[in-house]
Protein backbone atom coordinates (compact mmCIF):
# COMPACT_ATOMS: atom_id res chain seq x y z
CA UNK A 1 0.00 0.00 0.00
CA UNK A 2 2.84 2.39 0.87
CA UNK A 3 6.34 2.36 -0.55
CA UNK A 4 9.33 1.92 1.70
CA UNK A 5 10.19 5.58 1.18
CA UNK A 6 6.68 6.73 2.15
CA UNK A 7 6.73 4.60 5.29
CA UNK A 8 10.10 6.02 6.31
CA UNK A 9 8.96 9.58 5.76
CA UNK A 10 5.70 8.99 7.65
CA UNK A 11 7.68 7.48 10.52
CA UNK A 12 9.89 10.59 10.69
CA UNK A 13 7.18 13.26 10.55
CA UNK A 14 4.67 11.68 12.93
CA UNK A 15 6.63 12.86 15.93
CA UNK A 16 8.20 16.24 16.44
CA UNK A 17 10.20 17.80 13.62
CA UNK A 18 13.33 19.77 14.55
CA UNK A 19 12.96 23.56 14.57
CA UNK A 20 15.75 24.67 12.28
CA UNK A 21 16.34 26.29 8.93
CA UNK A 22 16.26 23.08 6.87
CA UNK A 23 14.07 20.56 8.71
CA UNK A 24 13.33 18.54 5.58
CA UNK A 25 17.03 18.27 4.77
CA UNK A 26 17.53 16.67 8.21
CA UNK A 27 14.83 14.11 7.39
CA UNK A 28 16.27 13.54 3.91
CA UNK A 29 19.73 12.84 5.34
CA UNK A 30 18.32 10.33 7.84
CA UNK A 31 16.73 8.38 4.99
CA UNK A 32 19.52 8.95 2.47
CA UNK A 33 17.49 10.68 -0.25
CA UNK A 34 17.42 14.18 -1.71
CA UNK A 35 15.52 16.93 0.10
CA UNK A 36 13.34 17.47 -3.01
CA UNK A 37 12.23 13.84 -2.80
CA UNK A 38 11.07 14.30 0.80
CA UNK A 39 9.23 17.51 -0.14
CA UNK A 40 7.49 15.90 -3.08
CA UNK A 41 6.39 12.79 -1.11
CA UNK A 42 5.14 15.02 1.73
CA UNK A 43 3.12 17.18 -0.64
CA UNK A 44 1.52 14.07 -2.13
CA UNK A 45 0.65 12.73 1.34
CA UNK A 46 -0.99 16.07 2.18
CA UNK A 47 -2.84 16.37 -1.15
CA UNK A 48 -4.22 12.83 -0.93
CA UNK A 49 -5.59 13.47 2.57
CA UNK A 50 -3.45 10.76 4.18
CA UNK A 51 -1.97 13.57 6.24
CA UNK A 52 -5.10 15.19 7.68
CA UNK A 53 -3.22 18.16 9.09
CA UNK A 54 0.42 19.13 8.87
CA UNK A 55 1.68 21.60 11.44
CA UNK A 56 1.91 22.55 15.07
CA UNK A 57 -0.19 20.87 17.76
CA UNK A 58 -0.79 23.11 20.77
CA UNK A 59 -1.35 22.39 24.43
CA UNK A 60 -4.83 23.87 24.85
CA UNK A 61 -4.39 24.46 28.57
CA UNK A 62 -1.40 26.69 27.87
CA UNK A 63 -3.07 28.61 25.09
CA UNK A 64 -6.05 29.80 27.15
CA UNK A 65 -8.42 26.85 26.63
CA UNK A 66 -8.27 25.58 30.20
CA UNK A 67 -11.22 23.21 30.24
CA UNK A 68 -12.09 20.38 27.92
CA UNK A 69 -15.20 18.30 28.13
CA UNK A 70 -16.38 15.30 26.22
CA UNK A 71 -20.14 15.42 25.90
CA UNK A 72 -21.92 12.14 25.18
CA UNK A 73 -25.38 12.57 23.65
CA UNK A 74 -28.24 10.10 23.25
CA UNK A 75 -29.85 10.94 19.94
CA UNK A 76 -32.66 9.15 18.08
CA UNK A 77 -30.90 7.24 15.29
CA UNK A 78 -33.18 8.84 12.73
CA UNK A 79 -31.89 12.28 13.74
CA UNK A 80 -28.18 11.46 14.03
CA UNK A 81 -27.22 12.88 10.63
CA UNK A 82 -29.10 16.15 11.16
CA UNK A 83 -27.98 16.58 14.78
CA UNK A 84 -24.36 15.63 14.04
CA UNK A 85 -24.16 18.37 11.42
CA UNK A 86 -25.74 20.94 13.76
CA UNK A 87 -23.27 20.05 16.52
CA UNK A 88 -20.29 20.14 14.17
CA UNK A 89 -21.26 23.67 13.15
CA UNK A 90 -20.54 24.98 16.66
CA UNK A 91 -17.15 26.68 16.65
CA UNK A 92 -16.40 25.48 20.20
CA UNK A 93 -16.85 21.84 19.11
CA UNK A 94 -13.50 20.45 17.96
CA UNK A 95 -14.57 16.85 17.36
CA UNK A 96 -17.94 15.29 16.60
CA UNK A 97 -18.41 11.54 16.03
CA UNK A 98 -21.19 9.00 15.93
CA UNK A 99 -20.26 5.88 17.89
CA UNK A 100 -22.12 2.66 18.58
CA UNK A 101 -23.56 2.67 22.10
CA UNK A 102 -22.11 0.26 24.69
CA UNK A 103 -24.07 -2.27 26.70
CA UNK A 104 -24.96 -0.03 29.66
CA UNK A 105 -23.89 3.12 27.88
CA UNK A 106 -26.69 4.44 25.63
CA UNK A 107 -24.93 7.45 24.10
CA UNK A 108 -24.31 7.54 20.35
CA UNK A 109 -23.04 11.07 19.51
CA UNK A 110 -19.86 12.54 20.98
CA UNK A 111 -18.55 16.10 20.95
CA UNK A 112 -15.32 17.53 22.33
CA UNK A 113 -15.68 21.06 23.63
CA UNK A 114 -12.85 23.40 24.56
CA UNK A 115 -13.39 26.59 26.53
CA UNK A 116 -11.77 28.87 29.09
CA UNK A 117 -13.42 27.16 32.07
CA UNK A 118 -15.92 24.46 33.06
CA UNK A 119 -18.81 26.88 33.45
CA UNK A 120 -18.34 27.89 29.81
CA UNK A 121 -18.28 24.22 28.77
CA UNK A 122 -21.60 23.66 30.56
CA UNK A 123 -23.06 26.72 28.91
CA UNK A 124 -21.95 25.53 25.46
CA UNK A 125 -23.51 22.12 26.18
CA UNK A 126 -26.74 23.91 27.09
CA UNK A 127 -26.64 25.91 23.86
CA UNK A 128 -26.05 22.76 21.79
CA UNK A 129 -28.88 21.01 23.61
CA UNK A 130 -31.24 23.89 22.93
CA UNK A 131 -30.26 24.12 19.27
CA UNK A 132 -30.58 20.36 18.61
CA UNK A 133 -33.46 19.59 21.02
CA UNK A 134 -31.42 16.74 22.47
CA UNK A 135 -31.66 16.81 26.24
CA UNK A 136 -30.24 13.43 27.21
CA UNK A 137 -26.53 14.00 27.61
CA UNK A 138 -23.61 13.51 29.94
CA UNK A 139 -20.76 16.02 30.33
CA UNK A 140 -17.47 14.28 31.09
CA UNK A 141 -14.81 16.71 32.24
CA UNK A 142 -11.24 15.52 32.13
CA UNK A 143 -9.84 15.39 35.66
CA UNK A 144 -6.37 14.12 34.88
CA UNK A 145 -4.31 13.53 31.75
CA UNK A 146 -2.86 10.02 31.97
CA UNK A 147 -1.33 9.97 28.49
CA UNK A 148 -1.25 12.18 25.46
CA UNK A 149 1.03 11.34 22.60
CA UNK A 150 0.93 10.91 18.86
CA UNK A 151 0.57 7.54 17.22
CA UNK A 152 3.75 5.79 16.03
CA UNK A 153 2.64 4.28 12.75
CA UNK A 154 4.86 1.77 10.98
CA UNK A 155 7.20 1.38 13.92
CA UNK A 156 8.68 -1.98 14.77
CA UNK A 157 7.03 -2.37 18.13
CA UNK A 158 6.45 -6.08 18.86
CA UNK A 159 2.84 -5.16 19.66
CA UNK A 160 2.28 -4.79 15.98
Amino acid sequence: MFSDLERKIIALIQGDMPVEKHPYQVIAEKIGVAEETVLSVLKDLCDSGIIRRFGATLRHQKSGFNANAMIAWKVDEGRVEEVGKLMAAFDQVSHCYRRNPGKDWPYNLYTMVHAVDEASCRKIAGNISEKTKVDNYEILFSRKELKKTSMQYFDDDPDF
Binding site: V19, K21, F54, A56, S94, R99, L140, K147, D159
Partner: protein, 148 residues
Protein backbone atom coordinates in the same frame (compact mmCIF):
# COMPACT_ATOMS: atom_id res chain seq x y z
CA UNK B 1 2.89 35.50 24.03
CA UNK B 2 2.52 38.64 21.89
CA UNK B 3 0.51 39.25 18.72
CA UNK B 4 3.34 38.05 16.47
CA UNK B 5 3.52 34.77 18.41
CA UNK B 6 -0.24 34.34 18.06
CA UNK B 7 -0.10 35.09 14.33
CA UNK B 8 2.69 32.54 13.88
CA UNK B 9 0.71 29.91 15.84
CA UNK B 10 -2.40 30.53 13.75
CA UNK B 11 -0.26 30.26 10.62
CA UNK B 12 1.52 26.99 11.42
CA UNK B 13 -1.26 24.91 13.01
CA UNK B 14 -2.79 23.53 9.85
CA UNK B 15 -0.57 24.53 7.03
CA UNK B 16 3.09 24.35 7.95
CA UNK B 17 5.03 25.17 4.75
CA UNK B 18 6.31 22.13 2.89
CA UNK B 19 9.29 23.81 1.26
CA UNK B 20 13.02 23.83 1.73
CA UNK B 21 13.09 26.71 4.22
CA UNK B 22 9.63 26.74 5.86
CA UNK B 23 10.51 29.43 8.42
CA UNK B 24 11.74 31.73 5.65
CA UNK B 25 8.33 31.39 3.96
CA UNK B 26 6.58 32.48 7.16
CA UNK B 27 9.15 35.23 7.74
CA UNK B 28 8.41 36.67 4.29
CA UNK B 29 4.68 36.67 4.98
CA UNK B 30 5.11 38.54 8.25
CA UNK B 31 7.94 40.81 7.21
CA UNK B 32 10.32 39.59 9.90
CA UNK B 33 13.55 37.61 9.70
CA UNK B 34 13.80 33.84 9.39
CA UNK B 35 15.91 33.76 12.57
CA UNK B 36 13.22 35.61 14.49
CA UNK B 37 10.55 33.11 13.41
CA UNK B 38 12.79 30.21 14.41
CA UNK B 39 13.58 31.81 17.78
CA UNK B 40 9.93 32.47 18.48
CA UNK B 41 8.85 28.93 17.54
CA UNK B 42 11.66 27.46 19.66
CA UNK B 43 10.49 29.62 22.58
CA UNK B 44 6.86 28.53 22.10
CA UNK B 45 8.05 24.92 22.32
CA UNK B 46 10.16 25.59 25.40
CA UNK B 47 7.24 27.19 27.21
CA UNK B 48 5.08 24.22 26.25
CA UNK B 49 2.50 26.03 24.13
CA UNK B 50 3.53 23.98 21.09
CA UNK B 51 3.42 20.28 21.86
CA UNK B 52 4.91 19.19 18.56
CA UNK B 53 5.23 20.05 14.89
CA UNK B 54 4.53 17.27 12.43
CA UNK B 55 1.94 15.26 10.55
CA UNK B 56 -1.47 14.12 11.77
CA UNK B 57 -2.87 11.14 9.95
CA UNK B 58 -6.18 9.53 9.17
CA UNK B 59 -5.65 6.08 10.72
CA UNK B 60 -7.94 4.36 8.20
CA UNK B 61 -5.91 5.63 5.28
CA UNK B 62 -2.80 4.03 6.74
CA UNK B 63 -4.57 0.71 7.20
CA UNK B 64 -5.28 1.17 10.91
CA UNK B 65 -8.48 1.25 12.96
CA UNK B 66 -9.17 3.50 15.92
CA UNK B 67 -11.64 3.46 18.76
CA UNK B 68 -12.56 5.10 22.05
CA UNK B 69 -12.61 2.89 25.13
CA UNK B 70 -13.69 3.51 28.70
CA UNK B 71 -13.19 1.44 31.84
CA UNK B 72 -15.08 1.40 35.15
CA UNK B 73 -12.06 1.45 37.40
CA UNK B 74 -12.11 1.47 41.23
CA UNK B 75 -10.38 4.66 42.47
CA UNK B 76 -7.53 2.80 44.13
CA UNK B 77 -6.80 0.92 40.92
CA UNK B 78 -6.64 3.88 38.54
CA UNK B 79 -2.86 4.14 38.67
CA UNK B 80 -2.15 0.48 37.95
CA UNK B 81 -4.87 0.36 35.30
CA UNK B 82 -3.41 3.43 33.57
CA UNK B 83 0.07 1.97 33.71
CA UNK B 84 -1.13 -1.22 32.05
CA UNK B 85 -3.17 0.59 29.38
CA UNK B 86 -0.53 3.22 28.60
CA UNK B 87 2.16 0.72 27.72
CA UNK B 88 0.38 -0.01 24.44
CA UNK B 89 1.79 2.36 21.82
CA UNK B 90 -1.66 2.40 20.17
CA UNK B 91 -3.11 4.16 23.22
CA UNK B 92 -2.50 7.80 22.35
CA UNK B 93 -4.88 9.68 24.69
CA UNK B 94 -5.94 8.64 28.17
CA UNK B 95 -7.89 10.73 30.67
CA UNK B 96 -9.59 10.36 34.02
CA UNK B 97 -13.11 11.68 33.58
CA UNK B 98 -15.89 12.22 36.09
CA UNK B 99 -18.26 9.30 35.59
CA UNK B 100 -18.77 5.65 36.58
CA UNK B 101 -16.80 5.00 33.42
CA UNK B 102 -13.88 7.02 34.67
CA UNK B 103 -10.85 6.13 32.52
CA UNK B 104 -11.22 7.04 28.84
CA UNK B 105 -8.60 6.16 26.26
CA UNK B 106 -8.22 6.05 22.50
CA UNK B 107 -6.77 2.95 20.87
CA UNK B 108 -5.26 2.71 17.37
CA UNK B 109 -4.12 -0.64 15.91
CA UNK B 110 -3.93 -2.52 12.60
CA UNK B 111 -7.23 -4.31 13.29
CA UNK B 112 -10.22 -4.35 15.65
CA UNK B 113 -9.47 -8.00 16.47
CA UNK B 114 -6.11 -6.89 17.82
CA UNK B 115 -7.71 -4.13 19.90
CA UNK B 116 -10.18 -6.64 21.36
CA UNK B 117 -7.29 -8.94 22.18
CA UNK B 118 -5.44 -6.09 23.92
CA UNK B 119 -8.56 -5.13 25.90
CA UNK B 120 -8.91 -8.75 27.02
CA UNK B 121 -5.26 -8.74 28.13
CA UNK B 122 -5.85 -5.52 30.06
CA UNK B 123 -8.92 -6.98 31.79
CA UNK B 124 -7.02 -10.12 32.69
CA UNK B 125 -4.05 -8.25 34.14
CA UNK B 126 -5.97 -5.55 36.02
CA UNK B 127 -9.19 -7.30 37.00
CA UNK B 128 -11.14 -4.46 35.39
CA UNK B 129 -13.66 -6.30 33.25
CA UNK B 130 -16.07 -3.50 32.49
CA UNK B 131 -14.46 -1.80 29.49
CA UNK B 132 -16.65 -0.42 26.72
CA UNK B 133 -15.33 -0.20 23.16
CA UNK B 134 -16.97 2.57 21.11
CA UNK B 135 -15.60 2.68 17.55
CA UNK B 136 -16.68 5.71 15.53
CA UNK B 137 -19.03 4.94 12.68
CA UNK B 138 -19.21 8.45 11.31
CA UNK B 139 -16.99 11.51 11.65
CA UNK B 140 -18.86 14.81 11.53
CA UNK B 141 -15.92 16.99 12.50
CA UNK B 142 -12.25 16.93 13.45
CA UNK B 143 -10.87 20.37 14.05
CA UNK B 144 -7.56 20.80 15.72
CA UNK B 145 -6.97 24.42 14.83
CA UNK B 146 -7.46 26.93 17.61
CA UNK B 147 -7.64 30.56 16.68
CA UNK B 148 -5.63 32.57 19.18
Amino acid sequence: MDDTDKAILNRIQSDFPVSSRPYAVIADEFGISEDEVINRVQQLKLTGIIRRIGGNFVPGKLGYVSTLCAGKVPKNKIETFAKEVNQYTGVTHNYVRENDYNVWFTFIAPSMELIKKYLAEISLKTGVTDIINLPATHVFKIKAHFNL
